[in-house]
Subunit: 192 residues, 2 copies
DNA sequence: TCCATAAATTGACCGTGGTCACTTTCATAG
DNA sequence: CTATGAAAGTGACCACGGTCAATTTATGGA
């Protein structure tokens, strides 16, 4: 039997309810009980649509990041580290709005633990593809595979965001830290 | 009033009970209720000793990693990427024994969210110090600060471990992936 | 030795994510 | 139109981390 319209409607109601709650209380404060109450369905229904609360978070947060990537994909390949950072900063802002959000992203960044690949993991793949294309067509080091360079950018991104939440967060901004990382990674000068 | 002997004993009982449970059921399966039952104390006592279950995990896992660092600190500075990997692999094994363990490490790697710096976060600082010393005294690139190089090694380490848990885990071992990263990061050849 | 005070411990209780046997609704065949 | 089986939905229930007012135990001064 095919998927029923009812199913899609219920799912949409759940997602909308969640988004509304998040809009005025943030991600961390989201409660499944509130979502089902607002959506007008039973608790069990929620878990028929999402494996667990985390799966809803993955869907919602992944969706937001995909929207950033939609923007980013329209851009011309950047010609400097600075232009790369201009492109990335908006999504950094989103990812660091709440520590909880960053934790969800971290947990899902290494792709799906089981079977299906989640929305957030997909964004990392997409990010890698775009970045590799950019790096291959920009004035950056040529001694290594662009895919590897992109991989590294991803690693440094996680690092810079994680350090942002440090108490030993010695006043260095995410952008400045990323700039240091990317200059060393994409434009090495091992002459002396 | 000074801290009582009773306190130290209770804390030791809790930790020992936890370690025993973990020894034969792993970290993920640990339940606070089991720990307090084995230790012969009430549930509330546990939370008088540890802020939450995560704090116990931080203590236990951080302790294990510190033990690895004790070994590592006795070594001579490595003379190649391969020797660096020899030194790091044992702790990689520990960190990837359970996905749960890696998640705890990830969550605490960016140092303490509040006030006090935790055991795991401390290991990252220690790791950075040792690695910076090594890199400064080995045959690696000289165009950037050793501390920055060490920072990067940390970032790539997280990345390599995270990818290990991918479903799209295309058969590349952690060591091989790390080797690729470190060669590109520590020994760039941007000639051509 | 006894009292006052602080420290340590207790366990009933709560919040919240997640389960599952059961009911309701839908789609299709006859 | 009705019977039938599958899909969707229900809500009482459970597991487990975490709280807190009340109680017990230690300590140091009189």
């Amino acid at each position: 039997m095919a998927v029923q319209t009812r199913t899609l409607k219920t799912r949409a109601k759940l997602i909308e309810a969640a988004q509304n709650r998040i809009k005025d209380a943030g991600y961390e404060a989201l409660r499944v009980e509130d979502v089902v109450k607002d959506a007008g369905v039973a608790k069990g229904t929620f878990f028929a649509h999402f494996k667990d609360k985390d799966a809803l978070m993955d869907h919602l947060i992944g969706g937001e990041i995909h929207a950033f990537l939609d923007e980013v994909e329209l851009m011309e390949p950047p010609k400097s580290v600075d232009e790369i950072l201009d492109a990335l900063m908006p999504s950094f802002e989103f990812m660091t709005q709440e520590r909880f959000v960053f934790d969800v992203i971290l947990r899902h960044s290494g792709a799906a633990q089981n079977s299906e690949i989640g929305a957030i993991a997909q964004t990392f793949i997409r990010h890698g593809t775009v970045m590799a294309h950019w790096l291959a067509h920009g004035p950056f080091r040529k001694d290594i595979d662009p895919a590897l360079m992109a991989d590294g950018v991803g690693a440094f991104q996680i690092q810079a965001l994680a350090l942002h939440f440090c108490t030993a967060h010695n006043g260095i901004s995410i952008r400045d830290r990323m700039e240091t990382y990317l200059n060393a990674w994409l434009l090495p000068k091992p002459s002396g």
